[in-house]
Structure formats: C-alpha cells, structure tokens
C-alpha cells in the first residue's frame, strides 16, 4: 500500500443544480501538512467535509486510508473515528464539561475504560494548555479556549488525519495566536493535516503544500515556498496580492 492516505479522483459535487466541486483530484501523503485557501464560496469547506463524509459527493471517488467512501460504506463511523475534525464554530457539546467533551467519544465509540480516557484527555488538554479548565463547561470559556478544547477533543480519538475547517475565523485576533500555536505544535508532532484557513503566516510556517481553490476547482497546488514566491495562475496572484 502506498503512503497516500487520502486519494480523491475526478470528484464532483452538486448542491441541487449548483455544482460546488468540479473535477477534484487530490492526493495527500502521510504526515503531510496541506493548507487550502481561496475566496469564500470556493468549496474549500465542502471539500474537507467530503473527506469524512459529512457531505456526500455525487461523482468520482474518495479513498481515505484504503477505504472508499460510497453510499454503502457500512462502517462510515469507523472511518470518521480515524479522521478528526475541528470546526469554525467549535461545536463543543454545551451540556458536558470540557473533560467530558473529550472523553465522550473515546468511551462510547472506542470503548475505552473511563479512567484511561480521562488520563488521555488530560494529556491532550495539557498539550493545548487548558488542563486547568477541565471541569468547566464550554459556555464558561473564551473562544480561543473552546477551539483548543475542540482540537483536544478530536485528538482524543487518536486520529490519523486532522481536518481543520477555518479554525480561527470565528475568533478575536488576540485568540487566534493561541489556537495557531496549538496547531503548530500538532504539526511538529507529525500529524497529517488538511487546514482550510486564511492565516498565511501559519501556511508559511508549517505547510508542506498549499492548495488554492476558486469556483469549486483546484486552481493551483504547489510547494509552500514556490506558492508564495512565484504563483503561476493569475487568479492566485490576485488573491495573494489582496490577502498579503
């Protein structure tokens, strides 16, 4: 088996009559960090939501860790358990404490003993530096802390791939840094990551490759340095000139 952990080929997706993703081809190798950028409405979020099948694609194939995602995939839950996801709106479970947020899935999905799950959760919360908030509820935390908890929650499932859907877009500028720091640490630890973000600083620091999307298509894919130094397409140049 190759070390290509995600293989997407000829993938198309429609919302009703509107085609959101057009002919996507994408392969991601293990331990690679990939940043996806592009203007809003270009299908970035939809693309990564397709990778753990929160959205269904209509054409083409998506293979995650050797399993093809189709309508008959019986154990889609198993694949999802391998793919962690962090959302723009955090989506923590407000009725559970921070610790319970992190232990819920390991205990009920992975059948981990409670004690073990709690140790693991505290370990990950420590990594994102909110272990001292473990017994509070999400509503009592700041946005940055909530997002770091969301990262810890995803990590507790010990995923092979982490997907980030604009993790810093809903945050105050001051809090963006603490979340990015947590993500940088995660990247350094060798996690396979696909990050949708507008934080070009983050892209320059950790990304191996950058993908630029527009109107549902992958316009350009390049090594990070190459991407920022001399972008090939005009659309990318325009985007970069506006964002940098």
């Amino acid at each position: 088996m190759s070390d290509k952990i995600i293989q997407i080929s000829e993938m198309n997706k429609w919302f009703g009559d509107f085609q959101v993703l057009k002919n996507i081809n994408l392969e991601v190798e293990k331990n690679k960090k990939i940043v996806v950028c592009g203007p809003s409405g270009s299908g970035k979020s939809t693309l990564i939501r397709c990778i753990n099948r929160l959205e269904e694609h209509q054409q083409g194939s998506i293979i995650v860790d050797g399993n093809e995602l189709t309508e008959d995939t019986k154990d889609i839950e198993k694949i999802r358990a391998e793919v962690g996801m962090v959302f723009q709106q955090f989506n923590l479970f407000p009725h559970l404490s921070i610790l319970d947020n992190c232990t819920l899935a390991p205990i009920w999905v992975k059948k981990m003993p409670k004690k073990e799950a709690e140790d693991l959760a505290l370990q990950h919360l420590e990594k994102v530096q909110i272990a001292d908030q473990a017994n509070k509820y999400p509503g009592q935390l700041s946005g940055g802390q909530q997002q770091r908890c969301a990262i810890a929650r995803a990590l507790c499932m010990e995923p092979k791939i982490m997907l980030f859907d604009e993790p810093t877009s809903a945050l105050d500028p001051e809090m963006i840094k603490e979340v990015l720091d947590a993500m940088v640490n995660l990247a350094k630890a060798g996690m396979t990551m696909i990050v949708v973000t507008h934080e070009m600083g983050f892209a320059k620091e950790v990304a191996d490759e950058v993908i630029f999307m527009d109107e549902g298509m992958i316009v350009e894919r390049a090594e990070t340095k190459e991407f920022f130094a001399n972008p090939k397409s005009d659309r990318t140049k325009l985007f970069l000139s506006q964002i940098l």
Partner: protein, 480 residues
C-alpha cells in the same frame, strides 16, 4: 426650611412629604378596610360617587407624595421601585390592594367563618358558608371511588410503598448513582405496574405477586453474604428457584383451592376511582407517552420514508381528533375489532388511548427542541465517529430535551387535567366522583364545595409538577 412643592416632592423635606404621604395612604386603606370588614362607611356623608372614589384619590395623592428618588431609606426605596414607579403603577397597585381587601371578608366567611365541618349529615350545614361536612362524609369516595372500604388499605399501602421507592434516588450512594436513570425509567414503572396489577386489583393472581416479593426479599438479604464473584449467577438462579418452590411446593395450588390460603379480594377496575385513579391514570400515561413521543419525533425526522410517514401519520391523526372521541372509541369501537374471547380491561384501553393521544403532542414538542439545535452539533458528533443512536443519546437528546422541559411540563400538566374525561367510559376519577356525589338526592346543592375541593387538589398536584420541572431546568442549566 425649604419651600414645599407638593407637585414635586424632593429629598429636602423628606419627613414632611413622608408623614403626609403615609398618613394619606394609611387613611385610604383604613377606610376600605373598615368598609369591607365591618361594613362601616366613614365617608358616607359625601355624595355617592365621591365617597366611592375618595379612598383611591387619597391613596393616589399619598403615593405621589412618598415617591422620592434615592431617599436614603431602604424600605421606602424598595416600595417606590416595586409598586410606585409612576402615577399609573401607583394607581394599579392601589387598585389591587383594595380589591384584595374587599374580597377577603366574603372569601373568609365562606371558607372558614360561616362554614360547617362538624356532624355527619347535611342538617348541620345551616350557615351561609361552605359545608365541609359534605367533603368529610364523601372523602373516602373522593379518594378511592367505589373501592370497598375494607380493602382501601391496599391502595394506601401501594401508594406509600411506591412513594417510598420513588424517593430512593435521594439515598443512593455514589456507586449506584449511575443506575438511577435506569431504575426510574425501567424498574420503577415495572414495580408500580406490579403493585397495581396484583395488589390493588387483587384476586388469585395476587399470590404470584407475593411469591415474587418474598423471593426477591429473601434473595437480596442472603445476597449480602455471597462473595461478589458468584453474585451474578446467584441473582439469576436463586430468586427464580425460590419463586418456583413457593409456587409449586410450599403453597401449591390445592391449598389455595381448599381455602386454607385466602387471596386478596378481586376488585374490578370499574370500581376503582377517585383521586387514586387520577394518580394511576396520570402516572402510567406520563410514563408511556414520553418514550412513544420521543420515538415519533425521531421518526418524523428519519430518512426512511416508511418510518417518516408512519410517524407523521400517527402524530397528525392523534393530534387531529378530540380526546373525548378517542376515549369513546377505545371503549365502544375498539372491542368490536378484537376476537370474541379476547378481553382487554377498560382501564388499560383508556391508558393506551390517552398515552397515544398525548404522545403526539410530546412528539411535536420534542421535535421543536431537536430543530433548535445547530447543525454543528450533529456534525461534531458524526465527526467523532458516533452512529445515529450514539449521536442522539449522548449528544442531541440531552440538549434537545433540556430545551423542551417547559413544553413537556406543559403537556404533562394538560394530561393530568384531561384525566377527568375518562368519565365517558364510565371510570370515575375525582371529578367523576364529584359529579356522582352532587346528584345524590341526600346531598343536593353542594356542587360548589366539591369543585373547590377538586380545584385545590388539582392545583396542588399541578403546582408541584410545575415546580419540579422548573427545578429540573435549573439543575441542567450549564450555560454561563
């Protein structure tokens, strides 16, 4: 001394304004009080209209005078803030105070002063007030319906036992806390059912119940001395063995037939009634309608067309028909569809009918809660690898149900207050008994007392439920 300006009281002449104001308010209240309690009109010398409005005018001026912001007196500030913020509110406050004072004496006299409770026939009720003797004499009927007097201890005992079993949650140790939900949702209703089916209903079947209880008690007592290693086998094998021994060896059926063992007398459900029936019907309907409603609400959002349209059909059907026709159908039409030798008790049919009826309402209330949850919660749960049931049980329902506690409490209160309708099938719970009692030729003319009595009982029950739902809301509040 500063100049007095009665149109704009201020702090400088605080005491002057205060004394005048308080005097005027007190005077106005005093006038109304005397008028209402002792029928003495202090101001009768004035023309009719003026004497009628004078207390209001006096009090109004008084309240105006004491309306001084930041007077520095705590009590005065509190009064001003709560009942005396502006002229209109002052007027309303006065009006309400006067209405209360006016309505107290007739109420008191009807309820207490002119009421009778002594004696045991209607002849003692000579006063103009309420005749509580009537309630006293009929009390048993109102509580137990037509249940034989000599057997009423069975109802009392069952209810006390169930009430006690219901409070177990408060005594549970940390170790057993996690089983409490299971206990209340599954075990407790089953126990309650057994109590009512075997104990209140009685008949030969009562023996099975007593054997069960004896077996359970004995095995639990011995269970304390069994090493935990064998406990599981023990609790599976021993109670069943004991039960079988009791039933077929110690108290075998011949003993029963020979009359050496006497069962509790069988009381058919038609004779049950009064408040105890209200409780029985409400309790079981509440227990059944909630899970049915829950599944209907989930079914209505399902992706499978069969489940979805079945749920929609159920909900819309039961919401679309009046409860009284449902009850009527359940007693008159339903038995026609059954095979001839099959018989389902009237009470059971009624409970099923009400449960299905209320389940439709519960379903829509819960659906409201499900729709209020952001889509992100579903996404997050799915992304963590949870399937449909795990997602709903662990993430979605706890939040949705918390949101709809007020709505569910609403439905449950309506259910309790709907129970009197079961009179259409001939079951007489408390209001039914009341209607029966009021048409008794010996006790004509006391409908008022009866209805007041029932209202008070219903209010107590419903208020307790509403308080409980409010406590639940507070308990599960985790935002901020």
């Amino acid at each position: 001394m500063n100049k007095l300006n009665f149109l704009q009281p201020d702090k400088n002449n605080l005491s002057t304004y205060l004394y005048t104001g308080v005097f005027l308010v007190a005077l106005s209240i005093f006038i109304v009080f005397l008028n209402s309690f002792f029928n003495k009109d202090l101001i009768s010398f004035l023309p009719g209209t003026i004497s009628f409005f004078l207390p209001l005018i006096l009090g109004f001026i008084g309240l105006h005078l004491i309306r001084i912001d930041y007077s520095g007196m705590k009590f005065l500030d509190k009064v001003n803030k709560n009942i005396n913020t502006n002229n209109f509110n002052a007027f309303l406050s006065l009006l309400i105070i006067f209405v209360i004072i006016k309505s107290l004496p007739p109420l008191l006299s009807w309820f207490i002063i002119d009421a009778n409770i002594a004696g045991d026939s209607k002849d003692v009720c000579t006063g103009s007030g309420a005749c509580w003797t009537y309630i006293k004499i009929w009390f048993n009927r109102f509580m137990y319906g037509m249940y034989p007097n000599a057997e009423q201890w069975r109802i009392n005992l069952s209810f006390i036992a169930l009430a006690f079993l219901g409070t177990i949650g408060f005594f549970a140790t940390e170790k057993f806390k996690k089983y409490l939900t299971l206990y209340y949702v599954v075990v407790y209703p089953v126990i309650a059912f057994f109590f009512i089916f075997f104990f209140i209903s009685g008949g030969p079947i009562f023996f099975d119940f007593s054997y069960g209880i004896i077996a359970a008690v004995i095995s639990i007592i011995i269970g304390f001395f069994i090493p935990s290693k064998f406990k599981m086998y023990y609790f599976i094998i021993v109670p069943i063995t004991l039960y079988i021994l009791l039933k077929y060896v110690f108290f075998y059926e011949e003993l029963i037939e020979l009359g050496k063992l006497e069962a509790l007398e069988w009381v058919e459900t038609g004779a049950w009634g009064g408040l105890s029936l209200t409780f029985i019907v409400s309790f079981f309907c509440l227990i059944f309608c909630f899970p049915i409603g829950l599944f209907l609400s989930l079914g209505r959002r399902s992706d499978f067309p069969i489940i979805k349209y079945f749920s929609i059909g159920m909900i819309e059907f039961w919401r679309g028909v009046p409860l009284i026709t449902v009850l009527f159908m359940s007693s008159v039409m339903f038995p026609m569809f059954l095979p001839e030798d099959m018989f389902i008790d009237k009470l059971v049919r009624v409970i099923i009918a009400i449960s299905l009826f209320e389940a439709a309402y519960v379903a829509e209330v819960i659906r409201g809660g499900l729709q209020a949850l952001p889509r992100g919660q579903y996404d997050a749960a799915k992304s963590l690898g949870m399937g449909y049931w795990k997602m709903h049980i662990l993430v979605i329902l706890p939040q949705a149900l918390k949101l709809v506690i007020p709505g569910i409490a609403n439905t449950f209160l309506a259910l309790v207050k709907d129970t009197p309708l079961i009179f259409v099938v001939g079951l007489l719970e408390i209001v039914g008994m009341l209607n029966l009692a009021k048409t008794n030729p010996e006790w004509l003319g006391f409908a008022m007392e009866g209805y007041v009595f029932a209202s008070v009982l219903f209010f107590i029950i419903c208020y307790a439920m509403s308080k409980y739902s409010y406590n639940l809301e507070q308990k599960y509040k985790t935002e901020r």
